[in-house]
């Protein structure tokens, strides 16, 4: 087909027809291309949204509390037993809370604000420190610096995705005057022009019936709520810090777009968080607890360790059961089986089993292992056995393909020097097919590692706070943990779930990488 050969076109109608056919040809190619782009685009969107969420959960905010380990609180009635110190969560927690109340004296005023300040840190967050002190009892009485994760909602706020707000630099404040009702009058020439403009834009963004938006004004460690804003003056209700900080300062105004009643955090909590940040007591640290903590009801403390260990135990059982059975069955079918009805029936069964929905295996596991054999619910042993039933047809199919690829000359050679059939297969054919068999088995295991539905049916969805120590302990696995976390209502679970998904995908990537490596390194074409 060179350009030199031109189709003889006899009429204008034929030329038109040809043009239409060529246009159709181009369109068809374009359909194919766009199908590919849609598929790849969907994958990209999925990876990007989950990756971006996971990235925001990869770090979290940790607050530093400089406390003195008062023996009367940490080890009451002179009990210095490490065990008692480790269990004295309440004592350590009260030290942290007292530290916060000392930093923000205004919080001690009433019950509500004391509760709001208590929300900063979860009781259980002091547990690692308590254990550390229990290991080093000589620390009792000395001053230490305790680090505890910030409350999940405030953490989200600092990351900029908990509460919608507009940050505006206000003009210079000239005078700060105390009023009779405890508020202050702040004024400065045109100081609040940008705030008024910002408010106008914000209410245009929101619907006209917008609830009143709170405006917070921050200078240094001090924050107050603004009301009655006009271009040059406003009334300031001090939330934390000193009113003098605002004098001659150019404070930052925050227009909080969500109403206080719709938020999980109050204006005061925002003010205190900003103050702690200004004092340099809040650090953004990598969230290693995702891999070192077990599940918790508090997102800032929750981690996937128990699920990771549960997954590994489950996979161990699956591998121990599915791989030998699958490989030996494949050897039988490929090398020994006579061509008869039984063999054919086995093959039909294997092909069908590979396509049975995974949830049906869960029903089988619940009926057979739990109801009939009385095995424990929620145990990696049962989970592993269920997944083994699901995985071994996959292992058989992959192993048969690998065995089939070994050329008959290898078998003929072995038989010719006097090896028995069994020796031929196990001394020559299987070792040559081993890389293929192994890669097939690993791919089957990777599928089992991501499987959720059958494990839900055998009770592996229960909350598990401890790391399982054996295959009969109560346990959960990574995909099920992802499912449970995605069901939680609080906002902070969303990025955490994404981060756990990334951990799961990392395991899958590792297994697939291993497969690629094995193929590159060992696979040979005959």
């Amino acid at each position: 087909m060179t350009d030199a050969v031109r189709t003889p076109i006899t009429s204008a109608a034929a030329a038109k027809h040809l043009k239409r056919r060529r246009a159709a040809d181009g369109r068809f190619r374009y359909y194919g291309l766009s199908a590919i782009f849609i598929a790849l685009g969907a994958l990209a969107v999925l990876v990007f949204t989950i990756g971006a969420q996971a990235l925001s959960a990869a770090t979290y905010h940790v607050v530093r509390y400089d406390i003195t380990l008062d023996p009367a609180v940490v080890a009451p009635d002179g009990a210095g037993e490490p065990d008692q110190i480790a269990r004295n969560v309440d004592g350590f927690y009260s030290l942290v809370r007292d530290n916060l109340l000392a930093t923000f004296p205004e919080a001690d005023a009433d019950r509500d604000s004391r509760r709001e300040v208590s929300d900063f840190v979860t009781r259980l967050a002091v547990l690692p420190t308590a254990r550390m002190v229990a290991r080093n009892p000589e620390l009792v009485g000395s001053a230490i610096s305790l680090k505890a994760p910030l409350n999940d909602d405030l953490d989200l706020y600092l990351k900029g995705n908990g509460v919608r707000e507009r940050k505006i630099k206000a003009g210079a404040i000239e005078t700060v005057l105390a009023e009779a009702d405890g508020t202050y009058r702040v004024s400065g020439l045109g100081a609040f022009d940008p705030v008024v403009a910002g408010l106008a834009v914000a209410s245009a963004d929101r619907d006209a019936d917008a609830v009143q938006m709170n405006v917070l004004l921050t200078a240094g460690v001090s924050t107050g709520r603004l009301t009655g804003i006009s271009a040059g003056r406003a009334r300031l209700e001090l939330l934390t810090g000193q009113a003098q900080d605002f004098a001659n300062a150019r404070p930052t105004a925050r227009i909080i777009i969500s109403a206080e009643s719709e938020r999980t955090i109050s204006d005061r909590q925002i003010a205190w968080t900003l103050a702690l940040k200004e004092m340099g007591r809040i650090d953004r640290a990598p969230r290693m607890t995702l891999l070192t903590n077990s599940d918790s009801t508090y997102p800032e403390l929750a981690g996937g360790l128990s699920a990771i260990v549960g997954s590994l135990l489950t996979m161990l059982i699956t591998a121990l059961v599915a791989m030998p059975i699958g490989i030996l069955a494949a050897v039988y079918l490929e090398e020994f089986a006579p061509r008869n009805r039984v063999t054919e029936f086995i093959e039909v069964n294997i092909n069908n089993l590979a396509a049975v929905p995974s949830i049906v295996f869960g029903l089988l596991g619940a009926a057979l292992y739990i109801n009939f054999l009385g095995m424990p619910r929620s145990a990696p042993l049962v989970g592993g056995l269920v997944l083994a039933l699901m995985t071994f047809p996959v292992v058989i199919i992959a192993s048969r393909a690998a065995l089939k690829a070994v050329p008959p000359s290898v078998r003929a050679g072995a038989l010719a020097v006097g090896a028995s059939q069994m020796q031929t297969v196990f001394h020559h054919v299987v070792p040559l097919a081993a890389p293929g068999i192994l890669t097939g088995a690993i791919l089957g295991m990777a599928r089992a590692l991501g499987e959720t539905a059958p494990l839900l049916l055998i009770g592996m969805v229960a909350f598990v706070g401890d790391v399982p120590r054996g295959p009969t302990d109560e346990s959960t696995v990574m995909p099920v943990l992802i499912f449970s976390w995605s069901n939680n209502a609080e906002r902070a679970w969303e990025p955490l779930t994404s981060a756990m998904i990334v951990v799961l995908l990392a395991f899958l990537l590792l297994m697939n990488g291993l497969v690629v490596f094995l193929r590159r390194r060992y696979e040979r074409r005959w």
Binding site: R29, Y31, I36, T49, I50, P357
Partner: protein, 471 residues
């Protein structure tokens, strides 16, 4: 003493004993065969290793059978003996109450310390441990004796002309056959367990009402009309196929007919990543991104329609979880199943057919549309059927993004429920196996199994028939 025996971790102990007895038997057999080899001028039939394997086989097989019997019957045996000794006051308990009492006894016995419970309970727990100890002790003695007899008997049989290799290989072949037979056992297990529990269910609810009833309310154990579930499953699978069939098919055509080998080498594995992502990840994606997006679009659509005066009230339900969200994401998941299989069958179409079409002056797209696709049609249909079966059986995406209300509604933005969603929600509660709620999950499972099996069998038939055509 007996109580301590009763607390033994028998599972691990049995595994260890089998390993110890097996290797001991192997070495004894091998050593004896080597001695025979040195002491006789005759050529031995089998190598010493095979004699070792033979002795090990004769030892391990009976021991293994005892271990399996122990793991199945030990608990029943102990509880049966315990029940005969219980005080007469226990006779008034119902079977279920008695069983839960025995279960708590077993739990207490496992955790060793049972302080704080009442005297009778503690006495029964101790007696349970004693009985368990007797069973364990008897098993261990029997195990040891059988292993000793096996080693002794097999050792006596070793002679220079003993055909150890043939016997070992026959035994090995039997093991291989049994492994292959696990496939039959699994299928039989699935069918029997589903049928057994379903039949119990159909004794309480008539099969006809189950299959044709339009009201599903299993959580209150009131209504078991599964038609809305079938409808929801069908609807979501349909949406998924509307996404996956064109995209998968056009991708396959592009990859096999248009793409350069380099592009193909890159795009094909990337597309297959879609099949490797766990379904729970798709479910989370549907819940997090797709369902809210569809809800927003539906609300916009409703507002637009009302503003244009085409309707006075919202047309679309615009619920937070919807059939459309689940179906779309499931469609994305299913794309590689369609594209991979179709790609294979399109590649299997002989080049001569394409060349013939080109020679007649057909353009590339005409060749694809009128020659290649018709030739590959049986394979493509099989791929689509397998994809449908995958979509019907898919669980996590629908559990997370499709909702739980059983209704028949053609509105894709309303939440529909499916067979798999209901199985999960019925089985995750703490209910017993005699509850119609639990049993109905098995009836649903039976329907699901039958439908997917039918799709798979038809698909495999079509593929088989097609293959014969060009071979």
């Amino acid at each position: 003493m007996l109580q301590q025996l009763g607390q033994l971790p028998m599972g691990w102990l049995l595994i260890a004993l089998i390993a110890v007895f097996g290797s001991a038997a192997f070495f004894l057999g091998r050593v004896r065969a080597e001695r025979l080899l040195l002491s006789t001028p005759v050529r031995m039939h089998s190598r010493p290793n095979y004699h070792g394997y033979y002795v090990a086989m004769c030892t391990v097989v009976p021991v293994l059978l005892i271990a399996v019997a122990y793991s199945i019957f030990a608990e029943d045996l102990t509880q049966g003996a315990l029940m005969r000794e219980l005080p007469s006051s226990f006779a008034q308990l119902s079977a279920a109450e008695l069983q839960s009492y025995l279960d708590s006894v077993r739990m207490a016995a496992g955790s060793a310390v049972s302080e704080g419970s009442d005297r009778v309970f503690r006495a029964i727990t101790n007696r349970y441990l004693e009985l368990r100890g007797m069973v364990n002790g008897a098993t261990l003695v029997l195990l040891g004796a059988l292993a000793a007899i096996g080693i002794f008997w097999a050792q006596r049989r070793l002679k220079p002309d003993f055909r150890a290799r043939a016997l070992v290989e026959n035994g090995m072949e039997l093991v291989l056959f049994l492994c292959a037979g696990v496939a039959i056992a699994t299928t039989a297990g699935i069918v029997l367990s589903l049928l057994y529990e379903s039949l119990q269910f159909f004794q309480k609810v008539s099969a006809w009402d189950f299959l044709t009833g339009t009201r599903w309310n299993a959580q209150t154990e009131a209504e078991f009309g599964a038609l809305p579930l079938f409808f929801g499953t069908f609807m979501i699978a349909l949406i998924a196929m509307l996404v996956a069939a064109p995209i998968g098919l056009f991708s396959a055509i592009f990859l096999s007919e248009y793409a350069s080998p380099q592009a193909r080498a890159w795009i094909k594995p990337i597309l297959e990543i879609l099949a490797g992502i766990p379904t729970v990840v798709y479910g989370f994606f549907a819940l997090l991104v797709v369902a809210p997006g569809i809800r927003q679009l539906a609300i916009l659509f409703n507002e637009g329609v009302i503003r244009l005066g085409l309707a006075s009230e919202p047309i679309l339900a615009a619920q937070p979880t919807s059939a459309l969200a689940a179906g779309l994401v499931m469609g994305i998941m299913v794309i590689p199943f369609v594209s991979s299989l179709s790609d294979d069958v399109i590649n299997a179409v002989p080049q001569t057919l394409r060349d013939a079409a080109y020679a007649l002056g057909a353009t590339k797209s005409e060749t694809v549309k009128q020659v290649v696709v018709p030739a590959a049609l049986p394979g493509i249909i099989a791929a689509l059927l397998l994809a449908v079966s995958r979509a019907i059986g898919e669980t996590m995406i629908v559990v997370m993004a499709a909702g739980k209300s059983a209704r028949i509604s053609l509105d894709p933005t309303s939440d529909l429920t499916t067979i798999t969603v209901q199985i999960v929600s019925l089985m995750t509660g703490e209910t017993g196996f005699d509850d119609p709620k639990t049993l109905s999950a098995f009836a649903l499972g039976l329907v699901l199994f039958a439908v997917t099996l039918a799709f798979n069998i038809v698909a495999l038939r079509v593929v088989k028939k097609y293959r014969e055509k060009y071979d």
